[in-house]
Symmetry: D2
Subunit: 349 residues, 4 copies
């Protein structure tokens, strides 16, 4: 009953097997091999346009280098107050941009509120050097709290980005989970709505170390080869990242894994709605379910073998938890078994 995080899961066997299969033989390093290039080509097909793809080793690297690629002196990037890049990356985005700031934007359900976004951007009027200057907007899809931006919501933020001539980045650590719920193609969820750069995560969804920074317009990422190498993110045996993506995309494995994860979350969600001792904190839309229950049950659940994290209540939800209660997060993945979900739900009855 492990619902701690999707990065506690292992690797899908088809991906491990692909790694094994390409183990022997010699191959041009640093991403220059035909094998790497072929996998990059798969991204073009998925995104229905010629994109620029850069493999990196962590999601934090993808997010940080995305911002570094559009860096400005005194730059300020706008993201949700509870965004991963703001809360969980130890200042890496600031480090890789030499101090460009992340400005938190409020918004319900883990999503940037367009009105607040405009208010925040307006605090940095053109040519007022003391405040710094707007640099980028970043949204997370799926969000940190398992919700999703609908495509018109993405579009609304993209319009603000366009108005202020700011690039729009999408942190897609759980890109696939969002995609399958919304039943969209990658193109529809990104550049067709105005997204410029995607941190395309695969690690959480069944790979072990496969993250790609994808520029919808390759020109925007033209410095990335140098930025990536200088950031110590150019892997020599890069083909082993490529091999993960190769198996990931084959026969839509990635979508199947995400669908499974989401289905398990949905199953959990329904069980919690019907639970006597827990209630749903808010509607889960991807592979993270947040539930509220009395503190007293935490220990009991853990003793029975359930693994999960307690969570700080998001600021817009303060009040939904009373003093005897706690908020817990339950994350599912490709590896979550239905029987484990059911065992867990039985404990909540």
């Amino acid at each position: 009953m492990n619902f701690a995080s999707d990065n506690w899961a292992g690797v899908h066997p088809a991906i491990s097997k692909n790694l094994l299969d390409i183990s022997s033989g010699f191959c041009t390093p640093y991403g220059a091999s035909d094998f790497d290039k072929n996998v990059e080509q798969r991204f073009n097909e998925l995104f229905e346009r010629e994109v620029a793809v850069y493999f990196v080793s962590t999601g934090t690297a993808a997010n940080s280098l995305a911002l570094a690629s559009v860096n400005r002196p005194g730059g300020v990037s706008f993201c949700h107050r509870e965004a991963h890049m703001l809360e969980d990356e130890c200042g890496a985005p600031e480090f890789f941009t030499h101090g460009a700031r992340l400005a938190p934007v409020d918004g319900n359900n883990g999503k940037i509120d367009p009105h607040h976004l405009k208010t925040e951007i307006a605090r940095f009027p053109p040519n007022f050097v003391h405040a710094g200057q707007p640099m980028a907007i970043s949204i997370t899809q799926a969000t940190e709290i398992g919700t999703l931006y609908k495509i018109d919501e993405i579009e609304e933020i993209a319009n603000i980005a366009k108005y202020y001539e700011l690039p729009l980045h999408m942190d897609g650590a759980r890109f696939a989970n969002a995609l399958v719920t919304l039943n969209l193609t990658p193109a529809e969820m990104t550049w067709k709505r105005g997204v410029d750069i995607v941190s395309f995560g695969a690690t959480k969804n069944g790979c072990w170390c496969a993250e790609a920074l994808v520029f919808m317009n390759p020109e925007m990422g033209k410095d990335l080869p140098y930025i990536r190498k200088r950031a110590a993110q150019l892997l020599s045996k890069s083909r082993f990242v490529a091999a993960q993506f190769d198996a990931y995309f084959k026969d839509d494995l990635w979508l199947q894994m995400a669908k499974h994860a989401n289905a398990m979350a949905e199953h959990l969600q329904l069980g919690i709605v019907n639970s006597k001792i827990a209630r749903l904190a808010w509607k889960a839309e991807a592979n993270e379910v947040f539930a509220i229950l009395n503190k007293a049950y935490i220990d009991k659940l853990q003793k029975q073998g359930a693994v999960f994290y307690q969570w700080n209540t998001p600021r817009d939800k303060v009040g939904i938890v009373n003093e005897n209660e706690v908020l817990i997060r339950l994350v599912t993945s490709f590896a979550t078994e239905r029987t484990e979900v059911e065992r867990f739900l039985a404990l909540l009855d």
Copy 2:
């Protein structure tokens, strides 16, 4: 006949298999699992003391974070003029230290000359802020040109480091290859001689992405957890790096692979000594052989399927190559087959 580089080789099957074996199941991420801890424990045994071990994804990251961990404002690190960190890391060491400088030191055979080292350090007298201040010394073992520091040579440099109170770093991208030639233990080649920090590379020697930054004195690396995370080098599914090291160390696989690579280099070397059309540039001591031959042969060799790089002549060797000649580098690895070496040598006859 691929002698391009040891990072063109694939992965040893035992390592790939270990990755496959640990694919399933749930595991604490970010290096906090028992499995990770057990592998770290192996480093303690190897180094015969309690060391601090940090996995990172590239050798450039290991080198850069080593310097970042001993960073000083206006800092200057001393390395050989042809060191990898100076020539081949796109300024990553400077980037991760916010501009601390790498000062090139001359020396024959790819090794820092202690006399020159002292002269260079003396250019930064204490409290003369205009010049900056000495920060670290870095040696590469094996060197970029396939030679080795003997232990008394390491000790001589370590004594200079001690005199100036500077930490001594060893770039061990080819640590194992050095170790087996010198027939030393890791402890004997490092801290017993005065080395403080090691970039312990395994990627070139049969892993696919396994680098460790090792502090002989854990206190010296006490900020590394934050430095590494901020550098986007904390892998979530860290156990897959641990699994590589696990198989790497098991039954001395790492030493066997290095011995094989070195033996193949020795075989190449002997063949070149006896060749009619090529001659040895200098004595190979690890897994890199440098040969000189007439330009005219390059094309011919490549057409026969030989893969290798031409090399800029090191500054202390300018003159060994005449105008019709070129210097080539031949790198062997765990994956180099004896028959391929012999096919190649046959072409040189």
Copy 3:
């Protein structure tokens, strides 16, 4: 009727004259002259202990280098949400610390609320690398909105700093104005309360370019000579900064100027309290008075020659201004003439 800012004022004639008087003759540059050293000695006397003093050219430099001197990877410094370093320095503190973050802390009257401070610090638990680590606390005295920390309020924050082993910095851009209102000595307002580092500003109080970074414990600033030089803040003809401080301290000129500025602010304040068309926004405690008046008057006042800024209402004061009103800031300085204050007050009647 210029109340725009104290940096719109010129230079006190005694200071200008001192600059002229030392114009000729040769002098060791870079702060190493006896003249510089003597002025540094004056700081020791003022602070009643041996402090380390570093002249820099701007208040932003003083604040940024203060944080740089206590820098930590993934570091987070806590300051009031409306602090100058957060709102008006274009990301310089982040830049000079390579991306260490400034965390805004709420609090009424421009002052950090100790309760909120503890809550914010607690968001960065020890060894949780994802969040980063606490690095420093910074208070501003006088605050951005012209209020003052009482000594017990400083002490309360200092106790929190001590508990978390964080250095406490004071942005003293208007140090003198605070000092004379509180009727304290520099020692009493700083290290005797637990302040570790002071940005000691003199530019706003009658100098033209005289800022000092003062470490109560010289050891804490031991890297500052290199940090300052690397930051391009080591002035060659440093004695001209020293000369400003020399005249500034002579016969307590600095305290007289601050007293005059504060008295003019008090005069303004009383006039506003009695005004028919304006009202006081909150109590002024140093040399900045904030008033609220109907928008319609702004234009009228400016046409009569009054110079001042409209101000964004501080977050804790939102609501004091209704939709037809604006908040204005009136700053006085050593150069503010009583007749000008009275002319302005007459317009408010």
Copy 4:
């Protein structure tokens, strides 16, 4: 007999007086006043085109921000091996560019050799990310050893810059001294030859803190307002820098001061040529004279009151000094009196 450096001199009385004259009154800060704008206009006239001018507080700031304004990831700037930015700025250029490297280029007489320059640039072939990428070329006029680039020498380097599409920076800490020897206009010595950015120094030539970063093409410096503010180099009472330049340019005071300094150097030079105990190291072309004499005389000269520095022999001049001799540097300035030169020369007889 002070020949230590031109930054040991004080300030020309006309400049000090101008500072005094503008001491009173209120003025828009941060360089936005009409007075500042008028002084900027003077630069347009001097350079015979519309340039962009940014005042900063030190020459190190001017050089560092020049490079920051053309920064590239993995960037490498080429300057002479003995350039001030490489030898005497404590890594500030690297710091402000987040680690972009300075590559030393050899050349006789303190000047970059175009042939060596091309060789060095060629070490960074396009798209070879491991080495980094060329970013800028910087020349120093007058050089660190008191020599000058002739205009065709500047042009030759500018042509290389153009070929590689690199901006050409001129460190003009002693711009005026070069100008008056060559008898050129600022335009002729800079953009008409292909120089893009000038660190226009006035501090050494009779001001006390007046440096300007000048972009021949304002577009190239378009980010400078943010870069400068973020670098803590935007002075609030900026008009006091403007006032120095105002007096500096008035009635060609700057050229007169430089001519005087150069004439004093010429006088020294002639005396040394005729001296019995000293000889000229190389021909002085601006305000720095380098002489060689027996070690034994150093003490004697200093006891008589002469102040000067011993100098490391430039690498291309090693051999001109034998083991009993030392190289000394004698710098003149606007403040050097002929009688002092003559007293000194008398000691050399």
